[in-house]
């Protein structure tokens, strides 16, 4: 398994440049409704949660596809949509628990994040690195260190060795 998108919502400033960059790369337009990811907002409480395709292992989109247009791509760690094979039934859209499968209503086609073949545009334009593209195998280590840091501070503060 390759790399994956990781979202740290606490770093998101809500600027939506990721949405613009995505639609620009995929469609040559600035069109948030065609973006493969979306910054979901709760304006009154200053909260943003960027939602991306999780490229699931047992992907519901893949499971329900009647023509096997969605396939696991282990090299890039993604579920890939074969647009030629897709019949546009939108079962995948209904099945995705994250709303990550979308529809281009004008072209009447299903749209899906393909991690830009390993160069995700959204990541390039995220100034605060709220979206990162990292090795899946070590994805948890940064957060583990952060958590350990808090524990270590407590240890240093309270658990002074008796000999000291």
């Amino acid at each position: 398994m390759g790399k994956m998108l990781v979202v740290d919502y606490s770093r998101c400033t809500g600027c939506r440049l990721c949405e613009v960059a995505c639609s620009l790369k995929k469609h040559g337009t600035s069109n948030a409704s065609l973006a493969r990811l979306r910054v979901v907002k709760w304006e009154p409480v200053c909260l943003e949660v960027p939602m991306v395709c999780q490229q699931c292992n047992s992907a519901p989109c893949m499971m329900v596809c009647p023509v096997q247009a969605l396939e696991q791509d282990d090299t890039l760690g993604r579920i890939k949509l074969d647009e030629d094979r897709c019949i546009g039934c939108k079962f995948c859209v209904a099945a995705c628990p994250f709303g990550a499968m979308g529809v281009d209503a004008v072209a009447r086609r299903v749209i899906k994040c393909d991690l830009c073949d390993g160069e995700p545009a959204c990541v390039h334009f995220c100034e605060t690195q709220a979206i990162k593209y990292v090795d899946a195998g070590t994805v948890n280590l940064v957060r583990m260190r952060e958590a350990a840091q808090r524990i270590s501070e407590l240890i240093r503060k309270y658990a002074v060795p008796e000999s000291a």
Binding site: G14, V20, A21, G28, N31, P44, C46, F125
Partner: protein, 627 residues
Amino acid sequence: MRDQKIAFIDLSSGAVKTETIPEKTRRLFLGGRGLDIHLLYDSLSPGVDPMGPDNVLTVSAGLLGGTIAPSSGRCHLGAKSPLTGFLGSTNMGGFFAPELRFAGFDHLVIRGAAREPSYLWIRDGEIQVRNAGHLWGRDTFETPAMIRQELGDEDIKVACIGQAGENLVRYACVLTGLKNAGGRTGMGCVMGSKQLKAIAVRGTGGLPIAHPQEAVEYLRNFMELIKDNAVMKAFSVLGTPMFQDDSDLIGRVRNRNFQRNQVPDGRGLYAESMQKYSISMAACFGCPVHCRHRYVVPEGPGKGSYMEGPEWSTLGALAAEVDCRRIEAVLSGNYLVNKYGIDSLEFGSMLAWAIELYEKGIIDTGTTGGMDLSWGDENMVYQMVKKTALREGFGAILAEGPLRAIEVLGEDTRYYNVHVKGMSCMHTDERATPAMALGIATSTRGADHLRSRPGVDANLLPRDVKDRLFGFRSSDIGSYEGSAKTIWWHELIYAIVDSLGTCKFQPLFMSPSILGWEDYARLTYVITGLEMSSADMVDIAERVYTLERLFNTREGAGRQDDILPERYFREATPLGLGGFKGATIDREKYDVMLDEYYETHGWDVNGEPKPETLSRLGLAKAPAGKA
């Protein structure tokens, strides 16, 4: 370019008409503030009552709005101002303008007045006037929430007024989001007078990018520039309050109205004091700079509520001017002005003026309705925000703005009010900086720093760097020489930024290594396909600024209105470092500077654009109402 439209909406009849925007018009005015003044100038007859149905409100997205141009979320609003009687013009960030463009519209031209409280619902090319009876009386936080619930879409963007706009406070603002305010010149008052509570918009369309690959490359480079730029780095963490530190230290802020130019023991208002409360930084649409604080109101009014800001200007108005010295007071005050929808700058200046009058015994509790107006009284400030927004007691007088409040309170109060053309100054003191003084005096919307402030001047750059930057002999901070041209240059580049719908914190306002003329020409090309040179951009900017000038001269403005408050000439700054202490503006030198300024623009000695200037800019048409 997609066929973005202008919608002409008559609230009296409910009629809506749309037009596409010809490329010829784009080449003359771009969009945003530029096309806005073109529409406004043509739609309005001189002499109309700003609060009557004949006034026209324009709402405009910039030419690059909602695209990958850095920070393309700005929205411009215009009308004849109920505060000044001249040009009403204001600009707000957030996400409203991009949504308007996604819905297919670049400009709204709203005339007439609704018979009942109403709001506009704009969705993908459709415009509906809806009843807002249930929204009337609601604040700016409740209103968007109720609209979203009613229409069943959390992604709707709303621009609305609070109680201040409904009550026709002459400096009521228009808000989108928690705190993005089109604050100045009373555009919220115009909405209130039309019984227009809000504009709600949702668009799912796209904006074609002429040269996507180049656009992506351009923005990538820009992101690198921002990451490497020291000023931007600080700005992304401290926001606009960072200007308070150096401005206060050298002595160019107003304290106790206009009696001091530094806040004694004022460190509690420095940017660092905000860090304790800032929970994160937020951005407007497409902006990698993210200069807006978020916080939870720690105490007092609004305690426990999420809020955004405060901007430096609000910090100055609600604290420095009225001599409050705790950031906590600003955090509650900021919450209140946003809630009621009132321009913080105008309010703070009006209140500081009233406190000084009270201190000097020119007014007393008989006039203030029993209110004891003292410096630094945080609770009094909170109460007065509410009283002004609701036009209660003495608040009803403050709600009238400088010109009319002076009429009410008497001739001996005039000297103490710090305004230009009827709009109050922000909390900066320009007595030691003639260029900035000229800027606020000549601005087309009254005392205002955002029309022309040579921000980069404050960085005290070496002479040769500035000469290279501007391409001419510009002013030094403190000098009269070169000021006229410096102000002219900044007026023009800010007019372009406002017309493209991007943010002023990216051009030279901040740092000499950020965007300049070539960059804007290039951005316009990669995004819209319109090929333009830097010289073309300068022409457009001159056209926009001169047309704004014409709007004002058509309403009777002239040289006599391009004047600083009398105190700038008479009272020397009592505090500050170096040349900032003991400074006044020299009346004769000011006049010379003003002459140079008019000449640079191609305007006559009365500030009226000369016929040859008009014809050079394609504005040959004589202003209506003139011979």
